[in-house]
Symmetry: C2
Subunit: 333 residues, 2 copies
């Protein structure tokens, strides 16, 4: 069986916003031979996440950088087309680290079976995958939300932020989202049921933010960093928790802006803590089960923004940073 595998490999490290030349687009033909325990997956959906930008840097981080020449790391959902592994059968759907390519050969390490006829497979890259887990553990275990508290979430229409806010609503919090543009804000309040959503592109954004936060913010879930994080430090209440989940506004910057209002942490005995979802891997199943129940009972909406064609990978990847996408960004093969 001859496999024609299209791959996207890292060609060079980017400076700032990645240019197309950092990738190589290849066709790699090979005769399929599987070792014992191996199986081959035909990838159907590839996850595009802000964290991928960090993996391109040659810097100490929570995970090794992608090496030059390697297939770009990415979460995937696909169907097994041939298997030498007794636990995985032809026709099974699996999610895992398949990378940006048509086919992945693996012994099953870091892959999970998806046995689910009720929820769309691609949700296992979104609300039932890494972004969902990030939201779940971030807002519950790190944010430690309590009923009646006020929660602010940035990138509220995004893969993580949209789930953070919905979970906070489920738990009885007042939830204020921040997103870019009227359409996204409308989506966040009307579809996702947040109490408010403020458009950071609007002229009166900061005065609205001040108004909505005047009672004090108990948890700020930060996906963007930069000046917004700095502003939010003004509005936190005593004992507030700031969850540092990401900093999309800073990922392509040469010079990160530090939050000069950080002494508000002192005045308010507040904390600012970073989180990495991988620390919760042993409880992924628990989160997945609870969130799947919420989906099936209509309490939680998954929201994928799906684009087609591996040849368009670069342009689709850039949607992570230009504010164009709404919800979980996915590349469909």
């Amino acid at each position: 069986m001859e496999i024609n595998n299209r791959t996207v490999r890292l060609n060079e490290r980017p400076n700032g916003l990645p240019e197309k030349k950092i990738w190589s687009f290849n066709e790699e033909n090979f005769d399929l031979k599987l070792d014992d325990n191996q199986f081959i997956i035909k990838n159907e959906f590839i996850s595009l996440d802000p964290a991928m930008r960090g993996w391109l840097n040659d810097a100490r981080s929570y995970i090794k950088p992608v090496n030059i020449g390697d297939v770009m790391r990415a979460g995937t959902v696909g169907k097994i087309i041939k298997s030498n592994n007794k636990y995985y059968n032809e026709g099974d759907y699996v999610s895992g680290w398949g990378g940006v390519q048509d086919y992945t050969i693996t012994n099953g390490e870091n892959f999970q079976k998806i046995n689910d006829d009720k929820v769309a497979k691609e949700s296992y890259l979104g609300v039932l995958g890494m972004p969902g887990f990030t939201a779940y553990f971030g807002i519950l275990r790190e944010g430690k939300i309590k009923e009646g508290e006020t929660v602010v979430v940035s990138a509220a229409a995004g893969a993580v932020g949209s789930v953070v806010g919905q979970i906070a609503k489920i738990k009885g919090c007042k939830v204020i989202g921040i997103a870019g543009g009227e359409n996204k804000c409308k989506y966040v309040t009307e579809e996702l049921n947040f109490d408010h959503c403020l458009d950071y592109k609007s002229d009166n954004f900061f005065s609205e933010l001040k108004d909505k936060c005047k009672g004090g913010v108990d948890v700020y879930f930060d996906n963007v960093g930069g000046s917004l994080l700095n502003h939010m430090l003004i509005f936190i209440s005593k004992g507030a928790r700031i969850v540092i989940c990401g900093a999309i506004s800073q990922y392509n910057s040469q010079k990160v802006v530090g939050p000069s209002n950080y002494l508000s942490l002192l005045v308010n005995r507040a904390s600012m803590k970073g989180m990495v979802v991988f620390d919760y891997v042993k409880d992924y199943g628990l989160a997945q089960k609870e969130m799947r129940d919420w989906i099936l009972t209509g309490k939680l909406k998954s929201n994928e923004d799906i684009y087609e064609g591996i040849e368009n990978f670069h342009e689709i990847f850039l949607k992570l940073f230009n504010g164009e996408k709404k919800g979980k960004l996915i590349l469909k093969l």
Copy 2:
């Protein structure tokens, strides 16, 4: 009985480093009349603390600002010279909020008796007072140190830092101090028993810091803020705790510098949390008892830097900010 009370009152709010004109120096004579339950204290020692700078600003904080015209707020130790309160007798020593003045009349609220013949009275403004409590709860309850961990303390020769490091040593940590000047550093390692002390005024400070911190820093106890806090973010280990206790480098700044390396919190799942000692008021007695035992058994050294004369209040106060003092700064009347 005629009382001649010298007072230092706040005359105007400062911009940046306080100038002498912000104070008024007064002599206020009055005939002593005590209401029921009142007593009058002749203050012997007045505590000078970096936090006092914050109290001069008309800003929302963890405590009300000192009002224009009020006697400057300060911790004091003094002797009761006349009492209408059955719990407090003439001759008793008390510590509390006596303010920058010779005499204080009070009903005893916010004052504690000092019954101690073994430890110097002025230690109740230092290691057995607010700075000591700050160190104790800061490093134990906020820093959550464990045996064998690496702790870095800035302003290591100061009232709080010196106690933080000594407690961390008692608890079996490796302790690196940071202080300004060779003399202070020598004092910190030779007298206070820290493992290392780095002179931030030295030319090779940052390379030495990098070298000493290369194994990773589990707790950074920050008294200074600014560029040092930002640097320390580079050296923290996974799960590190940064305790924000103060920011002496920033108190007189019009524009605070934010820690641009804050995303190290994310990579390292680390926290940065502010603390205010007043939150631990119910456990002050516990801390005082344990630290007094450590003093009497030679494990903990108190270090007061004492200057005389209320008329020199301003010049002595400035020693908080110019790096001249060593240990707990006290004004003796």
